[in-house]
Symmetry: C2
């Protein structure tokens, strides 16, 4: 059985690959990391094959998904601010490529588990204090619209029996290691990561803004869990709002001070950026996670624990 | 200013064309009726141009939407049972063609009002007794999924300023004149139309099933109203659940008896059809129409009045 990760060169793709290679939860004999830039395997393992592939090219999805494919983790995407500034690229990657992967799965490997990473960015507009599964999506970004359209398509492919689709709406991931990216939520990692590494960081949103966040390791555990759940447990919708914790920016920074001290905390300043704020402030700050927990998905304990995990797993690994 | 109707050979397209030509509500100097089969104008008028056009063909949308186009009524669609039995055709017509029209509008006539006919079929799954604007869509048919995806795309095009999109979620239309079609809701007209015309009709769903219906003339008035509303009145969503009335099949048949008598009523029999019932029973039977009424959309009075209008407008016109 073959497992494929698109966006395999990305941060979450690499984390997921490492977890799949180290754990026995999801048995496989081949792990394909696909990305537009040549991926590297995070661990030297004969089961891994790395391919450079532009999923928007005609035939790419068909070459990738062969009949022996058991699970696809479709992580490849154009992130939120980038999809907002380049609408056409966002459509091609976030929607068209997803559609082509679904078509390839339908014709080549219909029993395949198609795990799709959606996002809380499908929500927006007037929202209740706590978002439930019954809450209408109303994306205020092209990224959110493209993800929401993909969700509908995957649900319909699953309903028709064309593919065993599962859609995970990811919280904002914090703390991401590495460099800032074009996600509107990039600051949610930057305001923790940079100060801990001795650098300053500018927060573009208000300290009162509530974010719905998950640590990278919890999200990776939830990816693997989604691939092992029996299909019938999902009921009438294959879409799950993944568990997160609700924290304001001020609470995140208080946790940073508690863990790293006053000097670290003082490296963060505020300078409102309306183009980022408009996107991020449209996202919900809290969800009802009863269904996700009932399905066995994991949740972080608190934000201090998330910071400690970042220091342990990412900073020490990077030699900081 | 040019007005275009796709699906212009269809029943609603013809009604809309006649209303636009007879009324002064929406001034124009050219009315284009486009359909895959050559349309005819319902009224002899020098402003009308009829074109046979397959919207799924490359370049078709670009030829249709020129810079002088002020309003597009995009009515062309593959109906529900047909889209369910031919998924690929449904995707091409209901989604891909809509996307190509949006792209043509964005590049050729971005100020154009893009009126899209969606449907209550976007809803399904666990629903509250009364569906509100905040209620999540969960289509249980490919038709519903394709409409819901188009809605998201139109909202995003409107948000980006690429086109002035307006989405109308139509109730089930009853009473349609003419012949049964491949819509799962075809019976909702057939159980009234056929008995009044001396024919028998078989109802495939339970008498207890509640339907959300609108008369053709009310829907046509609402199409025109949607094209005259200022954009800012829509607020954060361009999607409107059009007003309808909630009636059970039993209530529809009681109205038929009240209007047509016992002999007419006795021409309806029941024979459950699970493939139709599964689709129709997934649709909501009642909506909160406060927002639509606030925007000035119209609503029918009751189902007896709808039957009387059908007898007056359609049966006498057809010489019955």
């Amino acid at each position: 059985m073959k497992v494929i990760i698109t966006g395999g060169a990305g941060f979450l793709g690499q984390r997921l690959a490492a977890a799949l290679l180290q754990e026995q939860t999801l048995p496989f004999n081949e792990l394909v990391l696909a990305d537009i830039q040549q991926p590297q395997s995070p661990i030297d393992d004969p089961r891994v094959r790395c391919v450079a592939l532009d999923l928007t090219e005609a035939g790419a999805a068909n070459r990738l998904i062969t009949s022996d494919c058991g699970v696809l983790f479709h992580l490849a995407a154009i992130v939120s601010s980038h999809a907002e500034s380049d609408f056409d690229l966002g459509m091609r990657v976030n929607f068209d490529a997803t559609q082509q992967l679904l078509e390839a799965a339908r014709h080549n490997a219909p029993a395949m588990k198609f795990i799709f990473t959606s996002s809380l960015a499908v929500f927006g507009g007037a929202l209740p204090a706590v978002v439930t599964d019954q809450c209408a999506v109303q994306p205020q970004s092209s990224y959110g619209a493209q993800k929401a359209m993909s969700e509908l398509l995957i649900n319909d492919y699953a309903r028709k029996g064309y593919v065993d689709g599962r859609v995970l709406r990811l919280p904002t991931i914090s703390v991401r290691p590495g460099k800032p990216n074009k996600a509107a939520s990039s600051f949610a990692s930057g305001i923790i990561r940079e100060p801990l590494q001795g650098e300053t960081s500018v927060c573009p949103v208000s300290p009162e803004l509530a974010l719905w966040v998950s640590s990278p390791s919890t999200v990776v555990r939830n990816f693997i869990h989604a691939a092992t759940l029996p299909a019938q447990q999902f009921g009438q919708s294959r879409v799950v709002n993944l568990p997160g914790i609700s924290v304001t920016v001020a609470e995140m920074l208080a946790a940073l001070r508690a863990v790293g001290g006053e000097e670290v905390h003082a490296r963060v300043s505020f300078a409102p950026d309306e183009s980022i704020n408009r996107i991020v402030a449209s996202w919900p700050g809290k969800f009802d996670i009863q269904r996700a927990l009932g399905l066995g998905f994991n949740v972080d304990h608190d934000f201090e624990q998330i910071i400690h995990a970042f220091i342990r797993d990412d900073m020490q690994q990077a030699g900081n």
